[in-house]
Symmetry: C2
């Protein structure tokens, strides 16, 4: 488990504003790439690195009411049980906002330690993601606010608990100690599940789980300050170059044929409509780079070298007097978007702002206020605006967020 | 707080079977009186014994989904705050299955200790009871399985938590320590709320709260064994007389004009259709007597003397050789049903098996298996039959119970 997962979701929920933001003059949050997260598939050409069986379980769509609703099928993965014996430990991974096989393939830690504990490994998919779609298909599940309404964290936790309880009974393994695992949103789920269902798990390893990123518990600048700091500690000049680049982009965008030359400079497949599109695309790269800044080569979000931020900053810092700032920015971003060198042009709309799952969650329960400060952040300054956020949710989903619900349900404020 | 509340609910949930049972040859559970509990009003002629204000709070009908649903108004009572100061303790009573003002009037313990702690007293009504009706009226709230579907324990706990969180914010009293209170079903709620929402309460006084009366956690005979034992320890001959009386009733019911003479003997307003109706009526009295066997005169369920079981047994034991068994049984039951002596005839259908709230809860989540043993119980032998129970629920409400849900959600099995 690494800090990888932790922040993916934090970017995702800003996505709602991408479209709204481009039409406003205030600096918008970074472009949304989070939906790639939910849609991304493991590379089918390479075999999965860990052995498991895929199984399915019937779940009630609403655990907390008795409305006449269809059940749905939850997918879950069961690791090899060669070394496991009855009432032996169970390691239960609480699925995040995406295909569970992708998370299984990228959560080596759980697989690596399981044999040492002779533990049975379970990866359970989160409802409304991957194959675990109510109403039989993503299209029908994501149809409208009514069909999506059971797409909540509490329902997902109940799914996990019902599945786990049933599994243990079927395995005649009621006394198995269970440890929950999760990173990022799944880490939040693991922590909350341990809190809400203490009778089903003896512990939880909640990695990179921003359970305090609600209301006013942590300052809203926290996330972008951390990302910015990852760049600053690598290179102050790199941090400052990025911080200056937003104005440079805007200035170039405003001159005659500026958008054309920007589009050429950044090798875009289609001509830019505005500079904000490009700023969002770059901001996303920086945020994801901070999340996947592993000390070894990796390929979770994108194929990347070890210490990718160091590599990005090397290019941005390269001969600042001889090279144009935006050329260096492009060279840096290419580490993230084109490390293999196979991309001939970049499609900023590669990831349309569709009805992705996390957007719904951000518009209902997962209201995590995030701002970007003028002082400590290298990103464009931005103040979280709940009114605008809410309006966008009503417009997108016809749903009103409950910004205080998560702390009411799960706590978080010091008492 | 006494053991009063504890068992009322346990009887209530047997009500479903009353109608089914009368047509079956197997011994049915006792007649339902629990709906009286939900409908009962405090005596409006006497002023409430404790000072409070009645207030109302808007709640979401479904806390765990975002379906477009109307909000509803929850009633709650706020005790005098003369002695309370900001951030002082709050005593929060989790409302049971009935009018909250009735519980407030009958929960002296909370009111009596509050001044000693300078605590603010809150009594919150449970959704779908009293005035806290979704859809504006009981008739509309209880219309069908769809309108009742949000009538669950988890939703009620969330109501309490949302109300409490909002109250504390409005009172600028976020640091107030909160202690939860409840007896019987409300005791279960208090215990579960402390478990599920540890961040909102520092403790719970859960009185007579049968949170283990689910699945196979306790033997299903537990309740009737305890009630029977309350009679046996008062008088073995009383216990044995009651145990023998069921057959005597049946025998008399079967002879020519037997139902007529039984109806006369028990001063019934309407002629009996079968002896089971009468057995149920008697069984309910014994169960309630065990619940309200206070050492002082009381009037919670019925006007009763101190130690009412002792009084009942005195009459049942009275001159067993000179007096007919069933006459003595009637004399005993009259302590419960007619202590004031004002009732001229008894109406067994006084309490029709309508769509009372607890029935719904028993048919959805609150599946509490109860049997009456041949050996230790003075009641008619009865084995809990889940299949029949479920069928009755489908027939009554078009809903299928989830008999394993409560232990999944709240635990209870030893782990």
């Amino acid at each position: 488990m690494t800090k990888l997962f932790s922040l993916l979701l934090v970017i995702s929920f800003l996505s709602l504003f991408s479209s709204a933001a481009t039409s406003s003059s205030s600096r918008p949050p970074p472009k949304f790439l989070g939906s790639a997260f939910a849609r991304s598939k493991p590379n089918r050409n390479s075999p999965p690195p860990y052995r498991y069986e895929t199984r399915y379980f019937r779940q009630n769509l609403d655990h907390f009411s008795f409305a006449p609703l269809p059940q749905f099928t939850q997918r879950y993965l069961v690791g090899s049980s060669d070394k496991w014996s009855r009432n032996g430990p169970i390691f239960f991974y609480c699925g995040n906002e995406g295909d569970i096989d992708w998370f299984a393939a990228n959560t080596g830690f759980v697989w690596e330690i399981a044999p040492k504990f002779s533990a049975l490994v379970i990866f359970a998919e989160h409802r409304y993601y991957g194959e675990s779609m109510p109403y039989g298909s993503q299209e029908r599940a994501y149809k409208d606010a009514k069909s999506m309404s059971y797409f909540t964290t509490e329902q997902a936790l109940a799914d996990f608990t019902v599945l786990l309880t049933d599994l243990k009974q079927n395995l005649s393994s009621e006394e198995s100690p269970v440890v929950l695992f999760g990173g990022s949103y799944a880490g939040m789920l693991a922590a909350w599940m341990r809190l809400k269902y203490p009778h089903v798990a003896i512990g939880a390893l909640a990695s990179s789980a921003p359970i305090l990123q609600f209301e006013d518990i942590v300052p809203p600048e926290t996330f972008y300050d951390i990302v910015s700091n990852d760049f600053r500690r690598e290179s102050l000049s790199c941090f400052e170059a990025i911080k200056k680049s937003w104005d440079a982009l805007d200035r170039l965008g405003k001159v005659h044929d500026g958008l054309t030359s920007l589009s050429r400079k950044f090798r875009l497949c289609h001509k830019l409509n505005n500079t904000q599109q490009l700023s969002d695309w770059l901001s996303s790269a920086y945020s994801y780079l901070a999340m996947v800044n592993y000390p070894f080569p990796s390929g979770f979000m994108m194929p990347l070298p070890a210490y990718p931020i160091k590599e990005v900053c090397k290019r941005i810092d390269n001969d600042p007097n001889g090279n144009d700032l935006l050329d260096r920015i492009f060279a840096g971003a290419s580490i993230y978007y084109n490390y293999t060198g196979n991309v001939s042009c970049f499609d900023l709309d590669d990831d349309p702002h569709g009805l992705s799952g996390w957007d719904w969650q951000a518009c209902t329960e997962m209201v995590m206020p995030m701002s970007s400060s003028r002082e400590n952040s290298m990103f464009q300054p931005y103040d979280f605006d709940y009114t605008a956020y809410k309006e966008q949710c009503v417009q997108s989903y016809n749903v009103t967020p409950r910004p205080r619900w998560m702390t009411t349900e799960f706590g978080g404020h010091q008492v």
